[in-house]
């Protein structure tokens, strides 16, 4: 298939349907409205179901019901709406249900604004809901990557029976870029013998629950989840990195910010400063090990985000005291200027006074 010019939110919707998503439950919120709009128009064409819920809370619980019933299901929202969904995400994790959640982030806290932001990193990777759980978090930096990750998200969700979040910022949702969409997924649906589909009188009832009042049983669930999280960490960590070997400065950034950082890197390269880039594609599991590839000439690591420093915590864990870790962030919907980032890099590289 050739490349088509698509808006991010619509490309995400189209990719989801191609990935076999047949159930969508959502609630309007800017800047992700084109996702439910797209799904309401196109899901019926493939025999799927779109329901506009009465709230984000209801939507995520519809996702819970549909996932528990064996459906390939997703929801999408933006920051404050994702905050409302946290209850359901915790239950989905506890009941080990596969689903995909798209967060097209906007600035916060509270009602915040509607311009792009990356201030839900903690919410996504540290678990906004209660309990000892993780979800897989993927952060595309181009529309093509968003489309490709959509298929992977559904597959990972089914493989590990885990919620997967596609964490985008408002720019990914709103911008247009050429994308090459995949052929529709024609593989047979994944077997889900645990799903509630009716016993047919032929087997014992299946039960979907996250309730374990016996501490020993609940600990057993948590140990099972922890083992699974280790497996996911080993097998599903994704990262892109450039020029780490000879870098004087290494920048860590994800999503759209990583694209802006590339411009800053170009500006510095033109001035003869070798700059490396680590771009996590999965935010959980986080690619800590990638930082081990940083060469001996590195003077410091710079974390750049559209927040006041959230991924920064993971960068510090990854650096583990080996290099000073610096931070540059813009927030509230303000997009960083590559010239400002380049200036920070020059300071770290000792080319410019502090």
């Amino acid at each position: 298939m050739g490349k088509v010019l698509m808006k991010g939110n619509e490309a995400i919707g189209s990719a989801a349907i191609r990935a076999g998503c047949r159930y969508f439950f959502g609630y309007p919120i800017t800047p992700q409205n084109e996702v439910p709009e797209y799904m309401s128009r196109h899901l019926p064409e493939v025999g799927g179901v779109f329901v506009q819920a009465e709230s984000e809370i209801a939507a995520i619980n519809m996702v819970y019901g549909a996932a528990g019933a064996g459906g390939r299901v997703m929801t999408s929202s933006s920051s404050p709406g994702i905050a409302l969904k946290q209850e359901g995400i915790s239950y989905l994790a506890g009941a080990r249900l596969p689903c995909v959640i798209v967060n097209v982030m906007r600035g916060g806290p509270g009602l915040g604004g509607i311009q792009p932001a990356q201030s839900d990193y903690f919410q996504a990777t540290r678990g906004g809901g209660n309990g000892d759980y993780r979800i897989i978090v993927e952060a595309p930096s181009t529309l093509q990557e968003a489309v490709d990750l959509m298929q992977e998200s559904f597959d990972l969700a089914d493989r590990y029976r885990i919620p997967v979040m596609l964490l985008c910022d408002g720019m990914i949702g709103q911008m247009m870029e050429p994308v090459e969409l995949r052929e529709a997924d024609r593989r047979p649906p994944v077997e889900k013998p645990w799903a509630t589909v009716g016993t047919g009188g032929k087997r014992k009832p299946n039960i979907i629950t996250s309730l374990y009042l016996n501490p020993a049983e609940l600990e057993e669930l948590n140990l099972l989840l922890a083992a699974q999280y280790r497996e996911i960490t080993e097998r599903e960590t994704r990262v892109e990195s450039i020029g780490l070997e000879g870098a004087r400065v290494v920048v860590a950034a994800y999503g759209t910010t990583a694209r802006i950082v590339r411009e800053a890197v170009d500006l510095c390269t033109a001035k003869g400063i070798p700059v490396g880039l680590i771009r996590p594609i999965t935010l959980w599991p986080y690619p800590y090990a990638e930082f081990d590839k940083i060469g001996k000439d590195c003077l410091g690591v710079l974390c750049v985000e559209m927040s006041m420093g959230q991924m920064l915590d993971d960068v510090k864990i990854a650096a583990n005291g080996r290099w000073p870790v610096h931070f540059y962030g813009r927030t509230g919907g303000v997009v960083p200027d590559p010239r400002d980032i380049a200036r920070e890099i020059e300071v770290i590289a000792g080319r410019r006074p502090v």
């Binding site: 159930y23 439950f25 179901v49 329901v51 819920a53 009465e54 709230s55 809370i57 209801a58 939507a59 619980n61 519809m62 996702v63 819970y64 019901g65 549909a66 996932a67 528990g68 019933a69 064996g70 459906g71 299901v73 209850e87 359901g88 239950y91 009941a95 509630t196 589909v197 009716g198 016993t199 047919g200 009188g201 032929k202 009832p205 299946n206 039960i207 979907i208 629950t209 996250s210 309730l211």
Partner: protein, 251 residues
């Protein structure tokens, strides 16, 4: 020896955990019998609430999901949309359905979701230990209304059946009581009719069951049944509030 009465195959062999005199067991039995009578046990998928009946999924002999507090109608919506042929029901108490989950049940009704909701109204939060419910009667004491519910401070209790009867998508709405055997039989018929309404694809169906909580009411089981009859029924009148043929309130 001839068996003249047996446990419904719609229930599992798990022993119920409910307090002596609690009416949850009766309601479980009535639902199980309806599913078996209508021959839908094998296609049934139930949704258990948060509250005393949180373990309902251990008792019904069909596939079950456990919902977050109040969200059962949303969970049931998700299930029913994936399996339109299944007999999907929610089992919810008054704190779950009439407080934290009010939006979910109202909008499931608005959409005319083809599910059946069994609403157990015992005018109190049972599992958490007797706190005031949205259905607690004026004058009734609760651990969070130690001097009794007052209209000035708390407002009057919510009549959910009457509320849902105003929603066009709700095709069957009836309030029943369990205070004597005749009314238990009437309740069984209502639950069966509600499932029939779902199976015929007519829309949302709802049965409110007036129930007792001897433990938290501080009464014996027999006293509790009398208390229900004398105090709850005058405020929560029994009858059909809506039927597929057209709304009518009579019994």
């Amino acid at each position: 020896m001839k068996v003249i009465y047996d446990k419904s195959p719609g229930l599992t062999d798990s022993a119920l955990h409910y307090c002596p005199g609690c009416t949850h067991g009766i309601i479980h039995k009535l639902i199980a019998e309806a599913l078996v009578d209508l021959d839908v046990l094998g296609s049934a998928i139930g949704v258990a609430p948060v509250g005393c009946s949180v373990f309902a999924y251990q008792y019904f002999n069909c596939d079950m999901q456990e919902a977050a507090h109040g969200r059962a109608p949303a969970v049931a919506t998700g299930i029913k949309r994936v399996h339109p042929e299944a007999a999907v029901f929610t089992y919810q108490g008054d704190g779950d359905l009439a407080a934290i989950g009010t939006a979910e049940v109202v909008h499931a009704a608005v959409r005319g979701e083809k599910i059946t909701t069994i609403f157990v109204n015992n005018a109190i939060y049972g599992m958490t230990g007797g706190q005031m419910a949205p259905t607690t009667l004026v004058g009734q004491k609760a651990t969070t209304a130690p001097f009794g519910r007052t209209e000035a401070l708390h407002g009057k209790p919510l009549r959910v059946s009457e509320l849902l009867a105003t929603v066009d998508g709700a095709k069957f709405v009836e309030r029943v009581s369990l205070h004597d055997p005749a009314h238990v039989r009437r309740a069984g018929r209502a639950i069966r009719e509600a499932f029939e309404c779902q199976i015929r694809g007519e829309g949302f169906s709802f049965v409110e069951v007036l129930s007792t909580c001897p433990t938290n009411w501080g009464l014996t089981p027999a006293e509790a049944l009398h208390w229900l009859e004398e105090n709850m029924i005058p405020y929560y009148s029994l009858g059909k509030f809506r039927t597929p043929e057209g709304g009518s309130k009579n019994d």
